[in-house]
């Protein structure tokens, strides 16, 4: 299992310095405010600012570089799902509340709906698709299956990625810790009982070490 922390292969170039001018003026807050701004076409874009038309964007996802042409307002989530076919991350609230879109950016759990794709350039992005090796499931996924920590499954990939990020930081969690650590994801079917157990079991299977 490769995570951004121990990955040496397929690493994005150091820093995004060359893109700083490119990104100027489009730094946005996450959550609702960001989303509102995203919806408004840039009317008087100052010189040197990306968009509103399509721009070339390079994303390092699961150890591979992907180049795509998208408008700067496209979120990382929509770029993954609609442009790159990586549909494991789901769009549910689209406002940074439910966690169904969770991916890892530089090893940290991030709501992909609340980050612009252009802001994710130069960063190591890992999606749920990058957690499997062929048909071999990640220990977190196995634990979700064993503990029936899923029903309709729509929130599950977000939970699995968030759980991996949590275990990376907390290799020996108790169920109590899990309740604090996974408060950023919501499930409508009510799979939390299984998730509590699954995350503890996965951490144990991962040997109390970062995977």
């Amino acid at each position: 299992m490769r995570s951004p922390k121990d990955s040496q292969v397929g690493k994005p170039p150091e820093s995004g310095v060359s893109r700083r001018g490119f990104l100027q003026g489009v730094s946005l807050g996450g959550g609702a405010l960001g989303a509102v701004v995203l919806e408004r076409p840039a009317e008087a874009a100052p010189a040197g600012v990306a968009g509103p038309g399509e721009v070339e964007v390079s994303l390092w996802i699961n150890g591979k570089e992907h180049k795509l042409k998208i408008e700067p307002r496209v979120t990382l989530l929509d770029a993954l799902r609609d442009r790159l076919g990586l549909t494991g991350a789901k769009r549910v609230c689209d406002r940074g509340t439910c966690g169904a879109c969770t991916v890892l950016v530089e090893g940290k759990a991030v709501y992909a709906c609340s980050m612009l794709a252009i802001d994710a350039q130069g960063k190591n992005i890992q999606t749920i698709e990058g957690m499997t090796r062929g048909s071999e499931l990640h220990p977190v996924m196995k634990a979700f299956v064993n503990n029936d920590a899923q029903q309709c499954g729509f929130c599950t990939p977000g939970f699995v990625v968030a759980a991996k990020a949590f275990i990376d930081e907390h290799p020996n969690p108790s169920e109590e810790d899990v309740m604090d650590g996974l408060g950023g994801n919501l499930c409508r079917c009510g799979t939390y009982m299984g998730i509590r157990k699954a995350v503890v079991e996965a951490a144990r299977a991962m040997g109390g070490k970062n995977a």
């Binding site: 408008e71 549909t87 494991g88 689209d94 509340t97 499931l137 939390y192 009982m193």
Partner: protein, 716 residues
């Protein structure tokens, strides 16, 4: 004809085992594809314009600018000028474009002029206002026995007013579809609970033959009763697809629209009067309720009150439907039951408090009025034991002097759950492979898993030997997943289809084993002669005897003659333990115990998950969830997931589930379990809070402000 009855409990190899769900790996790895994940060649993305006004008339729609907007390929007007709109969120137009962003730009450029009436009414809890405005429609009175006389004879009369607001389904995968319509045929990829039926529904809207619609769905992201129909957006997206030359178009609601118009559960409010004898026996019951599920009002079946204890001899029922300017109601996991469970159990708990009796005693005292007195009595006792009722219960309000008050409460429920009609086709191929086809769907309840378990059990094979295909209307027809009917319908159809196929296989291989077909059994991956294990063939060798022709057989469940495989009718009891901070008003659920009668269980693991999940949904309803309408603008204020609150992983306390699998329940066969456990939780939690703080918080959810207001009223 084969003997279809379930194998005796001690002879089951796979049925009754807590195996992992078969689609677990696909879901946990993110590989499972949902309607929203589908991308087809040439597919366009659609966005929808909705009406921001709760009551208005469209006077004009100008799409000229939108048509010129970059990337826009087509516009479909849904509500033509002249249309009167009765709730905000009503569909006005759809725009298809090369990207979703461009579709949203297009939507913003459509200019709609409205005549806004400013006379909307959204205060669902205000019956007097509704009556004054002519928005209340009484549905008459139902009287049984002589309630007036009985109230005179009662030793104690308890009165209360309770209310439960509108909830929304909040499906994580919002409603919508990918659809391609070339004017004749439709390729339809919805998110639905109704794979076999939704195509015909869409065809009606498009005025084409039902056979022209091909429906396919692998996975769906939550329905809870709201995803049976093709809906306006399905029909209109199809028309839009036709407009853009038959290209596939993908449209799913954004979160606001999902909450506003994709269905909700009606609110019910009511005034209750209960008369009882000193020993707690209820002799009279009166309710005046009103409900709304949106503009169409909200009905209530008189048989539902008092809930479960429906045979109280003297009762009067009055109900009024209230029409408001808000999106319409849909079935919502056990329609009306969680609400009437809360209203009824709150009234009984308040009666017990007035009698200064232990409510557990009062509930047990009155089980004679239920349809299953023995079951409810046993369940009440079991739940009481699980939560430690005897040691922990205290009279209402006597929870010590500190700021944190603890309390216990009871809720009850009942449900049908008879399996729906369904047909399954089984093919046994000469190479030994077994393929099942059924036009059903797995909502996350575990339908795939229980079908494969049933088939493997019946054929003497392992689950890995079975290939199951569901989610396509080209497969034999199965009922919609509603009313907890799927597990019964699909398991019975599977049992019959597999045994019918096996009978044909026996006929084919009997000569090779020198036996009669009826002397053969399928066991441990072999076909063998009963009582003579030396005469056997492996499954593969047996199937090879088929030559080049596979066996094909079907089996059907008919709910009118279920043949002992399935049954209907379950009871359930839940008890809650809460801690309430009387200074902040915050309610913490410590523990919820779920005792559920359930018939024969095919998979205890997925069955328990249904109970946990349903209990959590009830916790959401008791403590967090509520649609909040703004009286001034008529808009749904919290149509999002930030302020429309769902419980998180830390908010649900400890949940313990007891599935009552006693032999007499097992003998009934399979009964649906999706809905029953969602019913009693709200009542249990509300009653526990009343027990803790010494006063009823009349409305749920039990938010801090409501708890503090109730405490304030008590002090005043």
């Amino acid at each position: 004809m084969p003997d279809y009855k379930w194998p005796p409990k001690d002879q089951r190899r796979i049925i009754g085992k807590p195996v992992n769900r078969v689609d677990g790996p696909a879901k946990a790895s993110g590989r499972a594809k949902y309607s929203q994940d589908i991308k087809l060649p040439g597919m366009l993305y659609a966005a929808m314009l909705t009406c921001p006004h709760p009551h208005a008339k469209i006077t004009s729609i100008d799409t000229s600018e939108a048509e010129k907007s970059p990337g826009v390929k087509g516009i479909q007007i849904i509500s033509e000028p002249g249309t009167e709109i009765q709730w905000a969120g009503t569909e006005v137009a759809l725009v298809a474009a090369d990207t979703e962003e461009h579709a949203r730009d297009g939507v913003r450029k459509i200019k709609v002029k409205y005549e806004v009436f400013n006379d909307h009414f959204v205060k669902e809890d205000d019956l007097a206002a509704a009556q004054k405005l002519g928005r209340a429609k009484p549905s008459g009175e139902a009287v049984t026995g002589d309630p007036d006389q009985a109230f005179k004879e009662a030793d104690v009369i308890s009165e209360g007013e309770y209310g439960i607001p509108v909830l929304t389904h909040c499906c994580h995968e919002s409603h919508g579809q990918v659809i391609a319509f070339d004017g004749e045929k439709v390729e339809y990829r919805p998110s639905t609970q109704n794979v076999s039926g939704i195509g015909g529904d869409l065809a009606k809207g498009l005025e084409i033959p039902a056979a022209n619609v091909h429906v396919h769905q692998d996975h769906m992201g939550g329905g809870f009763g709201s995803k049976f129909a093709s809906d306006r957006w399905g029909v209109e997206t199809a028309k839009l697809s036709k407009k853009v030359g038959g290209k596939p178009v993908r449209y799913h609601h954004d979160r606001r629209t999902e909450l506003e118009i994709a269905g909700c559960r009606p609110a019910i409010y009511g005034r209750f009067k209960v008369g009882a004898k000193k020993d707690g026996t209820i002799i009279a019951w009166e309710s005046k309720t009103w409900a709304t599920g949106g503009f169409g009002g909200g009905g209530l079946n008189a048989n539902l009150l008092p809930y479960v204890f429906r045979n109280v001899p003297n009762r009067r029922f009055n109900h009024t439907a209230v029409s408001i300017n808000a999106g319409g109601a849909r079935a919502w996991r056990a329609p009306n039951h969680p609400q009437v469970s809360f209203l009824t159990c709150a009234a009984i708990e308040d009666l017990a408090a007035k009698l200064k009796m232990d409510p557990l005693e009062v509930f047990i005292k009155n089980v004679q009025y239920t349809q299953r007195p023995e079951v409810y009595k046993a369940q009440l006792e079991k739940a009481a034991e699980m939560i430690g009722w005897k040691s922990k219960w205290h009279p209402r309000g006597q929870s010590g002097r500190g700021p944190v008050k603890t309390g216990l409460g009871i809720g009850v429920g009942t449900w049908g759950g008879m399996g729906h009609n369904a047909t399954e086709r089984v093919k046994i191929h000469p190479d030994g492979s077994v393929v099942l086809e059924i036009g059903s769907q797995d909502l996350g309840t575990g339908t795939r898993t229980i079908i494969v378990q049933t088939a493997a059990e019946s054929l003497g094979l392992e689950m890995k030997d079975i290939t199951l295909k569901i989610g396509d209307n080209r497969y034999p027809q199965a009922g919609a997943s509603g009313g907890s009917t799927t597990v019964g319908g699909t398991s019975a159809a599977t049992r019959k289809a597999t045994l019918n196929a096996l009978e044909k296989l026996f006929e084919a291989v009997a000569p090779s084993l020198g036996a009669q077909p009826d002397q053969l059994v399928a066991k441990d991956g072999k076909i063998m002669v009963k009582g003579d294990s030396s005469k056997s063939l492996t499954w593969k060798a047996a199937c090879a005897k088929l030559g080049v022709t596979p066996i094909e057989a079907t089996g059907s469940n008919n709910r009118r003659s279920p043949g002992g495989l399935i049954d209907s009718g379950v009871g359930g009891v839940q008890m809650a333990e809460v801690a309430v901070d009387a200074e902040t008003g915050v309610v913490t659920l410590k523990k919820l115990v779920v005792v559920q009668d359930c018939g024969m269980i095919i998979n205890p693991k997925t069955a328990a998950s249904q109970c946990y999940g349903a209990a959590i949904m009830a916790i959401c309803g008791a403590l967090f969830e509520e649609r909040i309408m703004d009286a001034a603008t008529g808009r749904f204020l919290n149509a999002d997931l930030e302020f429309y609150k769902l419980a998180g992983i830390k908010d649900i306390g400890k949940i313990e589930v007891h599935l009552d699998m006693a032999p007499e329940h097992d003998a009934r066969g399979v009964v649906g379990l999706g809905e029953p456990p969602v019913i009693p939780g709200i009542a249990a939690i509300s009653n526990a809070v009343a027990n803790a703080i010494g006063v009823r918080v009349p409305r749920v959810p039990l938010t801090p402000d409501r708890v503090l207001a109730a405490l304030e009223r008590r002090r005043a």
